[in-house]
């Protein structure tokens, strides 16, 4: 009797989420699968067209440009950000004075609204008065046209993403602080130098967190949207900054091709699932769940 009463209460408490899960997760997920097989504009109801959207996507040059752009961005920005985040976290984990100040400074960029970051960087990278190129000029490097040269727009975005590693850095820092000092001391006694300690003790100990951040990074970087959308309207120049999520958004709301956009959404979803599985599988060998 008691148990049943408890179960009923538990179910009632969970009810808002159960509703939310169905209304804002399962239903949209299924409907978007259905829409992806439909010709569906905002004005008309969906009409079943079978696999047409997918076939069209396959032949859509813009789609492949976006895929390429997104993959390039993700493949460079993700590993680079991971290295920088781990590096910063390790520097902070050394008991230096003023650690909280440094931590705050590194974290701030990932705290502020993306749109403001976009504005700020438009100004810093500005072709005529950009301060970055002035700084580069001071050390004898002629800075490129970050915002208008096809070859340099993606590096500009990658640079910005590296600047915003604060979130991941904090997660690494927290896990570094949990690495038992006894292990580090033991390896020191065995004559390990700083690099050997990092390679053989620290990194294996924080490997589950590295794996977690990697998966989150894959999911996040494939969906990059706000910053390129604001900084490079329409993916200019020459679609070099047109990303997957931007094209998806444009398909749905600019060209009112909701079915087409849904097909893109499902492709992204499946790709993310597969990549995550592969990443987990490949990295599992290196992940060490230590007995802490």
């Amino acid at each position: 009797m008691m148990r049943r009463k408890e179960a009923r209460a538990g179910f009632l408490f969970a009810l808002p989420w159960l509703f939310g899960l169905v209304a804002f997760m399962f239903y949209p997920l299924l409907m978007s699968l259905y829409y992806s097989f439909c010709d569906y504009s905002a004005l008309r109801s969906p009409v079943w067209v079978g696999g047409d959207n997918y076939v069209e996507l396959f032949h859509d040059e813009v789609f492949w440009t976006c895929v390429k752009n997104t993959l390039i961005y993700a493949c460079v920005s993700l590993p680079l950000s991971m290295v920088v985040a781990i590096g910063l976290a390790m520097l902070l984990n050394t008991n230096v004075k003023g650690m909280t100040v440094y931590r705050t400074i590194f974290f701030i960029p990932s705290l502020v609204p993306m749109v403001s970051l976009a504005m700020l960087w438009l100004w810093i990278l500005n072709g005529d008065y950009g301060v970055l190129n002035t700084a580069l000029g001071a050390i004898g490097i002629k800075g490129p046209n970050w915002l208008s040269d096809v070859a340099w727009t993606k590096p500009a975005l990658i640079l910005m993403s590296v600047w915003g590693v604060g979130n991941a850095m904090l997660i690494y820092l927290a896990s570094l602080q949990d690495v038992p000092t006894s292990l580090l001391e033991a390896s020191e006694l065995d004559g390990a130098n700083a690099w050997q300690k990092t390679r053989n003790v620290t990194l294996p100990m924080i490997s589950p967190v590295i794996q977690f951040n990697m998966v989150m990074g894959i999911i996040g970087s494939l969906q990059v949207f706000a910053i390129p959308f604001v900084m490079f309207p329409g993916g200019t120049p020459a679609r070099s900054t047109y990303f997957y999520a931007t094209y998806l958004y444009d398909s749905a709301f600019t060209y009112s091709r909701m079915g087409y956009a849904s097909a893109m959404g499902w492709i992204l979803f499946v790709v993310i699932l597969l990549l995550t599985l592969v990443a987990l599988k490949l990295s599992n060998r290196h992940v060490h769940y230590g007995g802490v």
């Binding site: 408890e6 179960a7 209460a9 538990g10 179910f11 408490f13 969970a14 808002p16 989420w17 939310g20 899960l21 804002f24 997760m25 239903y27 997920l29 409907m31 978007s32 829409y35 520097l91 902070l92 050394t94 230096v96 440094y102 931590r103 705050t104 590194f106 701030i108 705290l111 609204p113 993306m114 749109v115 403001s116 976009a118 504005m119 700020l120 438009l122 100004w123 500005n126 301060v131 002035t134 600047w163 904090l170 997660i171 690494y172 820092l173 927290a174 977690f212 999911i219 494939l222 969906q223 949207f225 706000a226 604001v230 958004y249 956009a261 849904s262 959404g265 992204l268 979803f269 993310i272």
Partner: protein
């Protein structure tokens, strides 16, 4: 011992250099924001303004109030604050209740649904964008704030996860004792769990606030009329409208958008960092 001091000084130098690189864009932002317009367009740049134009902030807020291209900055601010309040309240209330159920009440299917809940964190938003839009269109909510705050009242996977982890650390003996005294689940939740969970609840509130303040895609999709825009969306408008961009005013406007986030962060640093480190714990 010599080697140790050497290592520490290397670390210090590295930290100082990197900090300068990380903080510089913000200093440049503030620097530009207080410059007279003529000094923003000089090559080489003017590092220290000849005159500190604090009036730029005021001008940025009132940009074009006498012109056609008027940007109602204060209206945006008001909209954003109102929206954030609705989202924060909804997030805290709903997720606390739901997480209590997942953490401390036994019911059939609970752990399975919790696993599903965690898995949903992997679903990319773009895949659900169209159907979600369709739902709100069907309800006639496009152009209103409802699509942006109503879902917050039905819980979110991340907040449920965070609160559940915390609720689980509260000793179960407390609940048992209350039950013997005849208290129901709601009473236990209200008078035992909630008062003990203020730190975790404030983390969730904080993330909800930041999320709303920073959100760009949501308002972009659902808000139609300029007077309903939020700051994030309005700032973009500011950029495209202030033709022949007046960088000093744009940077002043940008600083004003960033400021509340920084203030909140400085006051709640500890909760923040705690919350983020919880994310990494599987």
């Amino acid at each position: 011992m010599k080697r140790k001091t050497f290592e520490t000084s290397v670390t210090h130098v590295a930290l100082v250099t990197l900090s300068c690189l990380f903080i510089f864009p913000f200093l440049w932002l503030l620097d530009t924001a207080v410059k007279p317009i003529s000094e923003t367009m000089k090559q080489p740049p003017v590092w220290i303004p000849s005159k500190f134009e604090f009036g730029n902030f005021w001008e940025a807020i009132n940009y074009g109030s006498d012109k056609v291209g008027y940007i109602p900055f204060l209206v945006y601010a008001e909209n954003t604050v109102m929206l954030a309040m609705l989202v924060v309240t909804g997030t805290v209330v709903s997720n606390a209740i739901v997480a209590y159920s997942f953490a401390r009440v036994r019911w059939w299917g609970r752990d399975l649904i919790f696993a599903v809940t965690l898995a949903t964190m992997m679903v990319p938003f773009p895949v659900m964008m169209v159907p979600t839009f369709t739902i709100f269109k069907y309800l006639g909510w496009i152009g209103t704030y409802r699509p942006l705050w109503v879902p917050a009242w039905f819980g979110s996977a991340f907040s449920i996860f965070l609160l559940r982890q915390f609720f689980k650390t509260i000793p179960f003996e407390l609940s048992e004792a209350a039950k013997i005294d005849g208290a129901g689940e709601w009473t236990i939740f209200r008078s035992i769990i909630l008062p003990l969970s203020k730190p975790a609840l404030s983390v969730v509130a904080l993330f909800a606030f930041m999320g709303t303040w920073n959100d760009f895609m949501g308002p972009l999709i659902y808000l139609l009329r300029q007077e309903t825009f939020t700051l994030s969306l309005g700032l973009e408008f500011y950029h495209s409208k202030a033709g022949g961009t007046q960088w000093n005013l744009l940077m002043a406007a940008t600083s004003i958008v960033i400021l509340p986030v920084l203030v909140v962060f400085f006051f709640c640093q500890r909760q923040f960092i705690k919350g983020i480190s919880i994310t990494g714990i599987k």
